[in-house]
Amino acid sequence: MVGGGGVGGGGGLLENANPLIYQRSGERPVTAGEEDEQVPDSIDAREIFDLIRSINDPEHPLTLEELNVVEQVRVQVSDPESTVAVAFTPTIPHCSMATLIGLSIKVKLLRSLPQRFKMDVHITPGTHASEHAGKGGLVVRTTVLERVEQKQEREHKFT
């Protein structure tokens, strides 16, 4: 049984149980130009942002957009040069999920962008305690595998 006060017993599982939340931007309105067969639409920052904003945070039923982890202004894209750079901001400076978030963004972009694009996903400078460790973590697979194993263990315990 959970005692009174604070955010309840399960709170121990979460690093940040009551985070600041931000408003979702709506669906991008369809413009006349987009419906015109002839006009080419270039890939812009909003399009990239739309790809990643609905990714769910690993520990909340909230999206990266609602937690302000990703913002449209932190997306740099150049369609002619085929480059994308996304900077993301972990909710709290010592967030242990930073690696996982970065990986989620990267995978989503890899799946959703033309192959010609070079992509760079990094933590917004000065927002994370282990910025460089986080950046290095993006390529280390074991981190993710361990996480999956832990999750499975948890599931086993309760079924």
Binding site: M1, V2, G3, G4, V7, G8, G9, G10, G11, L14, A17, N18, P19, L20, I21, Y22, Q23, V30, E34, E35, E37, P40, D41, I43, E47, D50, L51, H60, P61, L62, K108, R111, S112, L113, P114, Q115, R116, F158, T159
Partner: protein, 991 residues
């Protein structure tokens, strides 16, 4: 001895002689033989139990009870016999108890096979149905006996029966004695239900059946409360999602029978668990169930009748909730603000008392917080919460005006809403508008000063610029809602302002167009129609709009068709708002229709120097806009009033009788059906709008003449607009005409006309249009001739000239029109006409396709895809296997329209019938991928949506294609159109 009855009579009854004739086998030392003997006897009894006499029953029961002591191999057959006897009407009283006692004593039920356990439950059920009083005389022994019978049961079929029995024990008030907890234990041990039906289960028992059945038992009595509530709390606190859901739902069900007494000790724990689930859950369903449970708990606490000296738990419960939630409400940026508000609202929605308590505590807090925070986004969150609490007020009505909890906050609320309405943030304005509407809906809350201010704000918001359209639309809607409640405020403060605005607009139109003025003018027109929700307001706004049309007509302004269309759209919206009120409806009809007709007639007069506007009034789009006004203003008329109107309008068109029109001094006669008057002829569309919207039983004068004139005009080739209007009008009247000789005559005339026109010459396309509309009119009402006409239409698919038009005609046949042949316009539209058309005609279409020469095959495919496209998917699914090959062929057809409609037909089928589609996966993947590089954007999008839908097919079917598809879908990721890329991303992500 051994239960054998003594044979007193020399002539035993049939049942007893059967028994004695089996004696040798029944007394056989070999248990198997005995079992077979009893089985035979039991089978006989099962068939003939209705024929048994009381005396026989007594003997048989004694015999069978005795057999219960026999070898275990014999027991199943004995139980069968007892089941037969339990159905006997002739069973004397006392024997039911004796049978049950014997079973409880002699049989260890749970060591029997499933079928035999089921038989025992059946015997008990039978007795409970017919011998309730007798069983109750057993007292708690019966309950205890049953507990022992069902203890350990695991079969879902048996459990459903057993749960039913327990529920009956409780609800029919059998004595439970000291065995309440045992009865609870023997059922609650299944909670939460953990059961997965085996594959191909013939019994079809689902997990959900067991859950509901068990829930009915557990939630059936407050006597279980002390045992059940701790169990529920434990399961809510577990990590298993389904257990949480089931527990919360069960708690919800319990609240219907519990009172304060049962809940008292568990309230703090229940609240802690619910709060945690709502605060922290990742599942919206758990959140929703948590809120529902809190709602029921609060309702339950509010409902209980208390003794004068007892403590009211509701207050302390609510104060707990408030204490845990209120500080989160002060952090409008944080995640827990909404869960807290939802919890409070769930509790407040439970009863008037709870609502008072929470509102009176939360409102001051939120009002204060609104002023404390200065950012628009924070204020918006606070106002949205406030709105939620205000809405709850509407659930309760207060007899005494002074008791209403909102009264004390009225002024603060109003000033806060007006602040929101003037905030630069559109989002905040929107919430402000919604809050204003809710405040307005509270009876007698707003003062006339408040209303005047509110109206002023709404007026300003109704003219907002392009980029805050959502706000403007919301303001218009709010004006409509509030105007219906406060007509005086709106007609004294808003209508005059709009009238002034309209006059300014008119003078600006004269000067020439400026885009901002133009959009302001449009806003004004929309505001006028939006506010016309009360009869008294319509009486002011309708003349304004009509006056405006006359002004435009007077000629000194450069009117464009878009201006007139905008006025017509406003008129139409106004007509829609008038439909529900018969008085307004008649007022609108009587005022607007003569005026519109007069304007149109005036414009159609031949003139030496035709003015610009007059041509404008005769344009296709303008006439179409007037058609929709006239139609809307006519459909809801009562038959008597409609009959009154029809005696003016039909003679206007047939005889040129203009006497009922305002300002009716026209330079020449109005003769729309005469050959030389091509401008006047176009007004047939207005006649169509009126006569085709009349209720079915309104008699139309001079019908015969009218129909002949229409038919004549429909095949006249000088003006396609008027000939089509005439054909539609003819079809609309045909559809409503009662069956009989006159209808047959009209039909014969039409068929002759069509055939003459289709033969050759300049009128082929007009004759085709007539055929199409007449066919539609008949298809809709299931007229027998419709099949002939459809067949004729199918012939035309082969026609080199009319083939493509005929193919598109199928789309018209299957779709809903907006102006004629509508249900709203009282046309006879049978509900299943599409299905019927499909069954009647698709085989012929398919056959025609196979027989047709190559160059017209696309016509058939197009026709077919139009039919399939409009068909409800459940009807289509069973037909799929036969049509699929044709559809796949249609995918290769070069025509974009066919491709598109085929894709949109296949997409839902992929979602709903993945098994059938699996067989064609190879073909589908190839064709979809090919189409994803089609030159048409719409086809590319549809093809990618189908690729997405393909992922619904079973995984083993898809796996071989996965690498190929993912590679192929990389290409549309780089499509030049963003909308295509979006579909490609979602399809590829899914693969």
């Amino acid at each position: 001895e051994g239960g054998w009855p003594e044979l007193k009579s020399s002539r035993p009854t049939w049942a007893l002689s059967t028994l004695f004739s089996l004696r040798s086998s029944l007394e056989n030392p070999e248990p198997r033989t005995r079992a077979r003997g009893i089985q035979l006897l039991s089978q006989v009894l099962l068939h003939c139990h209705t024929l048994l006499l009381e005396k026989e029953v007594v003997h048989l029961i004694l015999f069978y009870e005795n057999r219960l002591k026999d070898h275990h191999l014999v027991i199943p057959s004995v139980l069968q016999g007892l089941k037969a006897l339990s159905l006997c009407v002739a069973l004397p009283s006392g024997l039911a108890v004796s049978v049950l006692k014997a079973i409880f004593q002699e049989v260890h039920v749970q060591s029997l096979p499933q079928v035999d356990r089921h038989t025992v439950y059946n015997i008990i059920t039978n007795f409970m149905r017919t011998r309730e009083e007798e069983l109750k005389s057993l007292g708690a022994d019966f309950t205890f006996g049953f507990i022992q019978v069902m203890d350990g049961e695991k079969d879902p079929r048996n459990l459903l029966v057993a749960f039913r029995i327990v529920h009956d024990l409780i609800s029919r008030d059998y004595s439970l004695g000291p065995f309440v907890e045992e009865l609870f234990e023997v059922t609650s041990c299944y909670f939460p239900i953990d059961f997965t039906p085996p594959p191909n289960d013939p019994h079809g028992i689902q997990r959900e059946d067991l859950i509901l059945s068990l829930r009915t038992v557990l939630a059936s009595t407050p006597r279980f409360a002390e045992f059940l509530l701790p169990l529920l709390i434990e399961k809510v606190d577990s990590e298993v999602l389904s257990a949480k859901l089931d527990s919360l739902q069960t708690l919800n069900a319990c609240c219907a029978v519990y009172g304060q007494k049962e809940l008292k000790d568990f309230l703090p724990s229940l609240w802690a668990s619910i709060r945690r689930e709502v605060f922290q859950t990742a599942s919206e369903r758990v959140e929703a169930e948590g809120l529902a449970a809190l709602h029921s708990l609060t309702a339950c606490l509010s409902r209980s009748v208390l003794r004068a000296d007892a403590e009211d738990l509701l207050d302390s419960f609510l104060s707990n909730i408030l204490q845990d939630c209120r500080h989160h409400l002060c952090e409008p940026d944080m995640k827990l603000v909404w869960p807290s508000a939802k919890l409070l609202q769930a509790a407040a929605g439970a009863s008037a008392r709870a609502c008072d308590y929470i509102t009176s505590n939360v409102l001051p807090l939120l009002l204060e917080q609104f002023h404390k925070h200065s950012q628009s986004s924070q204020r918006r969150t606070i106002l949205e919460m406030l709105l939620g609490f205000l809405k709850l007020q509407q659930k309760w009505s207060y007899e005494d005006k002074d008791q209403r909890p909102l009264n004390g906050f009225k002024d603060q609320l109003c000033s806060l809403v007006f602040m929101a309405l003037t905030d630069p943030s559109t989002q905040l304005q929107l919430v402000g508008i919604r809050t204003l509407t809710v405040l307005g809906a509270q009876p007698d809350l707003l003062s006339s000063e408040d209303l005047e201010l509110a109206v002023g704000h709404l007026y300003r918001l109704s003219f907002l610029e392009e980029d805050s359209q959502s706000c403007r639309v919301a303001a218009l809607e709010a004006s409509g809602t509030l105007a219906a409640l406060y007509p005086v405020a709106f007609s004294s403060h808003l209508v005059p302002k709009l009238a002034e605005e309209l006059r300014v607009g008119e003078s600006n139109l004269t000067k020439g167009d400026e885009p901002t003025q133009c959009s302001r003018h449009l806003c004004c027109l929309q505001a006028l129609s939006a506010v016309s929700t009360h009869p008294s307001i319509v009486k002011e706004t309708l003349p304004l709009l009509l006056q405006h049309l006359w002004q435009v007509n007077r000629g000194n302004m450069v009117a464009q068709s878009s201006d007139v269309i905008a006025v017509c759209q406003s008129l139409k919206q106004m007509a829609e708002k008038c439909q529900q009120d018969p008085e307004s409806c008649w007022y609108f009809h009587q005022t607007a229709i003569p005026c519109l007709l007069a304007l149109a007639v005036q414009a159609s007069m031949p003139e030496k120097e035709p003015s610009v506007l007059k041509k404008v009034l005769l344009e296709d789009e303008v006439l179409a806009a007037m058609v929709s006004v006239i139609g809307t203003a006519t459909t809801h008329l009562s038959p008597e009033l409609a009959a009154q109107s029809v005696t003016h309008i039909v003679p206007l068109f047939l005889d040129g009788n203009v006497s009922f029109l305002p300002e009716n001094s026209f330079p020449s006669r109005f003769q729309p059906f005469q050959d030389d008057a091509s401008g006047q002829r176009r007004l047939i569309a207005l006649l169509m709008a009126f006569v085709c919207s009349l209720p079915r039983n309104v008699e139309i004068p001079q019908l015969n003449q009218l129909m002949r004139e229409l038919l004549e005009l429909s095949c006249c080739h000088s003006c396609p607009f008027s000939s089509t209007a005439a054909a539609k009008c003819f079809a609309g009247l045909l559809n409503k005409h009662p069956a009989g000789q006159q209808l047959d005559e009209f039909l014969q005339l039409a068929v002759d006309k069509v055939e003459a026109g289709l033969g050759s010459g300049p009128c082929r396309s007009q004759a085709f249009t007539l055929l199409l509309w007449v066919t539609k009119a008949l298809v809709l009402r299931y007229h027998p001739l419709s099949s002939c006409l459809t067949a004729r239409l199918m012939d035309l698919l082969n026609d080199p000239e009319l083939g493509p038009a005929a193919a598109d005609g199928f789309s018209l046949l299957m779709s809903d029109c907006t102006d004629v042949l509508t249900r709203a316009g009282h046309a006879e539209v049978r509900i299943m006409f599409r299905q019927r058309f499909f069954t009647d005609n698709v085989p012929a279409l398919v056959q025609g396709f196979h027989a047709a020469p190559q160059d017209v095959k696309p016509n058939y495919l197009k026709g077919l895809s139009h039919v399939l496209n409009r068909l409800p998917k459940p009807v289509l699914l069973p037909e799929l296997p036969t049509l699929l090959s044709l559809l796949l062929e249609a995918l290769s057809c070069p025509d974009c329209v066919v491709q598109l409609s085929t894709l949109s037909c296949l997409q839902p089928l992929l979602l709903e019938a993945p098994q059938v589609m699996s067989l064609h996966v190879d073909n589908l993947v190839t064709k979809f991928l090919n189409l994803s590089s089609s030159p048409s954007m719409a086809v590319r999008i549809a093809a990618l949506q189908c690729m997405h839908a393909l992922t619904r097919l079973p995984t083993p079917v898809l796996l071989p294609y996965k690498p190929q598809v993912i590679r192929a879908l990389a290409k549309p990721l780089d499509d030049k159109k963003r909308l295509v890329r979006k579909e490609a991303v979602s399809a590829r992500g899914e693969w």
